[in-house]
Amino acid sequence: MLEIRELTRRFGEHTAVDRVSFEVPSGLMTGFVGGNGAGKTTTMRMVMGVLGIDEGEVLWRDQPITRLDRRSFGYMPEERGLYPKQPILDQLVYVAQLKGMGRVEARTRVQELLERFGLGERGKDHLEKLSLGNQQRVQIIASVLPKPAALVLDEPFSGLDPVAVDSMVDLLREHTRDGVPVLFSSHQLDLVERLCDRLVVLAHGRRVAAGTVTELRDAGVPRFRLVLGGDAGWVRDQRGLDVLDLDGATALVEVREDGAEQHLVAEATRRGDVHEFVRVRPALSEIYREATA
C-alpha cells in the first residue's frame, strides 16, 4: 500500500498542495480527480520524488519511501514524450536499464510489450514518426517497465482513442490483479467512475473527498424522490425534511432528521397512492462539482 500523509508543497507564497492525505491500497485503482491547478500533478511529482516535499511524508509498505522503492514504480509524467529522435525500442530498453533491468532481459520485455500494443514491427522507428496515439502507447510501455511495484500515472488516458483506452485499462487491470496499487489522475469522470475502485478529489490544493465511488455517493445528506398519485404540495409541511424540488406529484427531499423519511412514507400512504419512493444518489460529476466548487 502506498500512503500519502499530510503532504504539503509551497511555491513562494502559494500553497499548491496543503496537507493532503490519502491511501492507494494494493490491488486497487485509485482515481485522482480535481480541476486544473488543484495540485494533482504536484502531489504525484512529490510521490515520485521528482519534486521536493515541504512537509508530510510518503509511505510505501508502512516505511518512509526510498529512492530504490521509487525506482521500482512505474511513472507517467503529465506532459509526455520520450526522445523524439531515437528509435522506440532503443529508448524503451534505455528506460528499463535505468530502472535496473539487464540489457537482454530489457529487450525481451520491451519487444513483448511492443507486440502487445501492435507496435512489434516499429521498434526501429523514431518516436516522432509515430502517430500521437502510438506515441502514447510507447509512453505507457515506458511506465510499466520493468514489472512495476506501483503505478503513478498522470492523465494516462488523455489523447487515447477508445480502443487504446480499452487496452490501457486491460493492462492496468492486469497489474491490479497482481496486487499492484495504481494511482491515476484524470479529467474524464465517466472513465474514472467506470474504472476506479477508489477516488480522491482535490480542490485548491486540499483533499475534499476520498473513498469508494459508493461511499462518496452515499456520503452526502440522503435524498429521496417521492412520486404520488395526487398533488405533493403537503410535503412542504413535513418536519425534518428540506424540499429541494416540487413539481406536481413529484417531490425531491433531503433528510435533515434521522427517520424523517419514514414518517414521510407513512404520511404519503395514508394520504393515497405512492407510485415511487426512491433514494437518489448523486452522480459522480455532481459530487465532483460540489466538492470542487
Binding site: 511529482r45 515520485m48 520524488g49 521528482v50 519534486l51 521536493g52 515541504d54 529512492r67 530504490l68 521509487r70 525506482r71 521500482s72 514504480f73 511513472y75 507517467m76 509524467p77 503529465e78 506532459e79 509526455r80 514524450g81 520520450l82 526522445y83 523524439p84 529522435k85 531515437q86 532503443d90 534505455y94 528506460v95 536499464q97 535505468l98 530502472k99 535496473g100 533491468m101 515506458a142 511506465s143 520493468p146
Partner: protein, 393 residues
C-alpha cells in the same frame, strides 16, 4: 532487481546513450567527415602551393649572356623556387619579339652602364629580386676587383648571419599557425558540443522524460553521464582532426616540424579535456535554465560571450598579458598550449596551469550540479540563476 550495483552504473548507461545516439546521427557523421576533408584539403593545398616552382625565361643579347647566366646560376641561392632559363637573342628587336611572343618573361640589357630588366607589362617580382641580388653581387665583385680588393674583404664583419634567424622565424610562423588551429578547434568543439549538450538537456526537460529518469536514478548521474558522453565525443573528434592534421603535415615541406609538435599537441589534449569538462557543466546548466529550445539563446548568452573572449583572447594576447592569461581558467585552456608551442615555457608552468584549470573544472562541476539539479525540474518559463541556486528541491 533493484540492487545497489545497478545504481552505481547509471551514469555509464547515460554516457553510452549520449555517445551512441550521437554517433549514429547522420548530421554528426557528415559534419565530422566534412571537417576531415576540409583539413586534408587545406593541407594538400598548402603543400601544393609550397612545392610549386616558378619558371622564368630571361632573354639576353650576346653581350649580356654572361650576366644572364650568372643570374641563372645564382637564382637558387636567392629564391629556391625559381628556375631561370636563359634565351639568347640576336638584338634588341629579337628580344622585344620574344617578349611580346611570350617566349621570354624579361629581357636583360645594359643601358648606360646600368643593368635593366624589361618585361612586357607585368612585373616579374621573383625574377627582379633574383636579378637585383645577383647583379649587385656581380657588380660589387667587379668594382672591388677594380680597386684591388674583394667583396669578402669589403664586407668582412659587416654582415649579420641570417641562417639561424630565418629558421627560427619559420618555426615561429608554424607555431603561430598551429596555435591558431588549437584555439579554433577548442572554440569550435566547445561551441558545437556545448550547444548540443544544452539542447539535449532541454529536450529531456521539455519532454519530461527527465521526470521518468529522475524517478529512476539520481540526477547527478544523469548530468555526469551527459557531460562524460559529450566530452568523450568531443575528444574523439578532436583526436581524429589532430591525427589527420599531423599525418597531413608529413606530406608537406613542414614535415620536419611534426616531431616538435607532438609534445605541445599532447599538452593541448590535456588542456582541452579539463577545459571542456568545465564548460560542459556550464552548458548543461544553460540548458536546464531554459524551458523551451527558444530560451536557450538567452540562457546561454553569458557562455557564448565567454567562448568569444576565449577565442579572441587566445588569438590576440601576447607578452605579459599572454603569460597571465595562460594561468587563468578557462582561458588558460587555449593560451597555455599556444605558449608551449611558441617555446620558452618553464616545465612547471603547464602543470600549474593545468592544475588550476582542473580545480576550476571541479568547481564548475560542483556549482553546475547544484544549479542543474534544481533548475531541471522547474517548469514554466525561464529559471534565473538566482532562483535555481536558492530553489528548494
Amino acid at each position: 532487481m533493484s540492487t545497489h550495483d545497478d545504481r552505481e552504473r547509471a551514469w555509464l548507461l547515460v554516457t553510452r546513450r549520449e555517445v551512441v545516439s550521437r554517433i549514429t546521427d547522420k548530421s554528426f557523421l557528415f559534419g565530422t567527415a566534412f571537417m576531415v576533408l576540409l583539413i586534408a584539403g587545406f593541407i594538400g593545398f598548402t603543400a601544393w602551393q609550397e612545392d610549386r616552382s616558378e619558371d622564368a625565361t630571361l632573354a639576353a643579347t650576346p653581350e649580356a649572356v654572361a650576366m644572364a647566366t650568372a643570374i641563372k646560376d645564382g637564382a637558387a641561392q636567392v629564391d629556391e623556387d625559381l628556375d631561370v632559363t636563359v634565351l639568347e637573342v640576336a638584338d634588341r628587336e629579337a628580344a622585344e619579339t620574344a617578349l611580346t611572343g611570350d617566349e621570354a618573361d624579361a629581357w636583360l640589357h645594359e643601358v648606360d652602364g646600368v643593368w635593366q630588366l624589361t618585361s612586357e607589362s607585368s612585373t616579374q617580382d621573383s625574377l627582379t629580386a633574383v636579378a637585383e641580388a645577383v647583379v649587385r653581387q656581380q657588380v660589387l665583385a667587379d668594382n672591388a676587383a677594380g680597386v684591388g680588393t674583394t667583396v669578402e674583404a669589403l664586407e668582412a664583419g659587416s654582415t649579420v648571419s641570417t641562417d639561424f634567424l630565418r629558421g627560427d622565424a619559420e618555426k615561429a610562423a608554424v607555431a603561430d599557425a598551429v596555435g591558431f588551429v588549437f584555439v579554433f578547434l577548442f572554440y569550435f568543439a566547445a561551441l558545437v558540443f556545448g550547444m548540443q549538450l544544452a539542447s539535449s538537456v532541454i529536450e529531456e526537460k521539455q519532454s519530461r522524460i527527465v521526470e521518468i529518469i529522475a524517478a529512476a536514478i539520481p540526477l547527478r548521474h544523469l548530468l555526469a553521464g551527459k557531460v562524460l558522453g559529450n566530452t568523450a565525443l568531443a575528444v574523439i573528434q578532436l583526436l581524429v582532426y589532430l591525427v589527420v592534421g599531423l599525418i597531413g603535415l608529413t606530406f608537406t615541406p613542414y614535415k620536419s616540424f611534426v616531431p616538435a609538435l607532438s609534445g605541445p599537441t599532447a599538452w593541448f589534449i590535456g588542456f582541452f579535456l579539463a577545459g571542456f569538462v568545465a564548460l560542459a557543466c556550464l552548458w548543461a546548466v544553460a540548458g536546464s535554465l531554459a524551458s523551451r529550445t527558444e530560451d536557450l539563446q538567452s540562457t546561454s548568452t553569458p557562455l557564448t560571450m565567454l567562448m568569444l573572449v576565449m577565442f579572441f583572447g587566445g588569438l590576440s594576447l601576447d607578452g605579459r598579458g599572454q603569460v597571465i592569461a595562460s594561468f587563468v581558467p578557462p582561458v588558460s585552456a587555449v593560451v597555455m598550449p599556444k605558449r608551449i608551442l611558441a617555446g620558452g615555457v618553464e616545465w612547471w608552468e603547464p602543470l600549474v596551469a593545468l592544475g588550476l584549470l582542473a580545480v576550476f573544472a571541479a568547481i564548475t562541476v560542483w556549482v553546475g550540479e547544484r544549479l542543474y539539479r534544481r533548475a531541471l525540474l522547474q517548469t514554466g518559463g525561464r529559471v534565473s540563476l538566482r532562483q535555481a541556486w536558492s530553489a528548494a528541491e
